[in-house]
């Protein structure tokens, strides 16, 4: 199991497309830093130099996760595609070029599909979160990480939002870690949809776009019926999630886990 997992992880990460996805994600973050964070920095120093007392700007305000900006919108919109580009069609390609036949002679079918699923999960999570981590690092090296206070009304996190008590505490970094871990799990599970749909779809392009199409479809349904706050394209930004949306989000994550398990079972029953 270990050997096959290691091999799949190497296939996923030593890959030109993985490099492309990470560079694209980090590129958006760097553009965000150049065009938006630098404005925050200028504003911060102008406040320091003036005599007027004002609310201090903090690194917690201006990383891509909690800010409202064109780059934030772009990043969270395209991340399901970026996450699926390097490894999304891997199982389909293995089947198409006969690689799976050679592998299954040498290893257990269960191990192979389980390793595949874990790699889908990890690759999706890593692509989604590395740019977020980069953005936070860039923010904390540019601005002080001052403890946020709800009274300043500077932040887009309100008392109705989940974990707001952690954000407005001495442990703001814990909130950031929860945010990043949540996105890792969310986009990891969303990326597993590629594996699920490999059994139904015969088109590489469509398989890679499945997570994005599902996310966008849910967003559209959300806009019409239940509200966009309950759809992954919106709640990937944990700061907009209110406690009453939590039940929907947990439900959606459970469905994603269930679909991943279904894909595993289908894989085991697959006749070569």
């Amino acid at each position: 199991m270990k050997a096959i997992l290691k091999m799949e992880l190497i296939r996923a990460f030593r890959n030109k497309l993985m490099f492309f996805s990470l560079i694209s994600g980090c590129g958006i973050v760097i553009m965000y830093y150049i065009f938006s964070v630098t404005k925050y920095i200028k504003s911060f120093y102008s406040i320091l130099n003036s005599d007027i007392a004002s609310d201090p700007l903090s690194a917690n305000l201006c990383w891509i996760g909690t800010a409202y900006d064109r780059y934030t919108v772009l990043y969270f919109f395209i991340i399901p595609i970026l996450a699926a580009i390097p490894y999304g069609a891997s199982l389909y390609m293995d089947k198409k070029d006969g690689y799976i036949n050679n592998i299954l002679i040498k290893t257990d079918r269960k191990n192979y599909f389980f390793a595949k699923l874990i790699t889908y999960f990890i690759s999706g999570g890593v692509i989604a979160t590395i740019p977020l981590i980069l953005s936070y690092i860039l923010a904390i090296i540019s601005l002080p990480s001052i403890r946020p206070y709800a009274e300043y009304s500077l932040y887009n996190i309100y008392s109705v939002n989940i974990f707001s008590n952690i954000f407005y505490s001495n442990y703001t970094f814990v909130y950031i870690i929860i945010f990043i871990v949540f996105d890792f799990i969310l986009f990891g599970l969303i990326n597993c949809l590629c594996m699920v749909f490999t059994y139904w779809e015969e088109n590489r392009f469509a398989i890679v776009l499945t997570p994005f199409i599902i996310c966008y479809g849910l967003h559209m349904v959300g806009q019409y019926f239940i509200g966009t706050d309950k759809t992954p394209l919106t709640y990937a930004r944990l700061n907009v999630v209110s406690s009453e949306d939590l039940i929907y989000i947990i439900g959606e994550l459970l469905i994603l886990v269930l679909l991943a398990i279904v894909s595993l079972r289908k894989g085991k029953k697959d006749v070569l």
Partner: protein, 279 residues
Amino acid sequence: MSYKIIKKLVKYDLYWGILNKWKKYLVMLILSLIITFVFIKNSQFYYRLDKLDSMPGFLDYIMNMFHGMKNFISDGNTQFEIPVEWMAFHLFVAFAIGNYIIDDLEKCGINIITRVRSRNKWIISKIIWNVVAVLCFYLVVYIVNIIIALSITGKLQLSLTQSVCSKFFELNNVNMESGNGLLAIIILPILSSLAISQMQMFLSLILKPIISFLMIASILILSAYSMSPYLIGNYSMVQRSEIFMKDGISILTATIVNITIIIVSVIGSIVYFNRKDII
């Protein structure tokens, strides 16, 4: 002779790229049905509350599909709402155009090129297919909305309803007296879609189809967020046209830019494909 070969190639592409992909057109049909029915349901709700003077007609349905959104002004706190109808249509067209050309090239394109002894004819046929495929998507949307309009209102209303526009699109004083209104609602979205699709096909020849889709999706979302003439998605948003918005995008500029993009993409596709290593 050359014309006959191109005709045969176009016939082949229309069969395999449109008729054989009928499921995609069925999805577009369902999508436009859902969008229009949700719009009608919402209109009925407001009509019962006396917030609408009359129910929407055919052109309002089309407006609902392609209106996009007004200029978004970010204050750092307002959450950006994606214009779902406009985005869904354009993303779906991009998805449908997607990888047909590369897929066909990998499957039997090389054999066809060897048989017809011309790369130009093959790529010209694909360009024609692209135009027809995009027009077919619009045809589906129009047919669906014409049928709905005729069955609900009994007529094909070619003017916008003021109260509907105020309520749903935040447009006051809609003036449709000149033909420019119809041009902005009907012709410009089609022209923009043709430009976007030709650009996508050109990009998928240079890069990979998935990366070209990613670029189109990025352009569309950035266009919705920022009103800029450099982001071509803006030209397909009816609400941002100068007809409906002060300081909006001029119809002339939109037409010139779209035609320029189409010409550059077509020439680029032909020139690049002639030099591309396809073996």
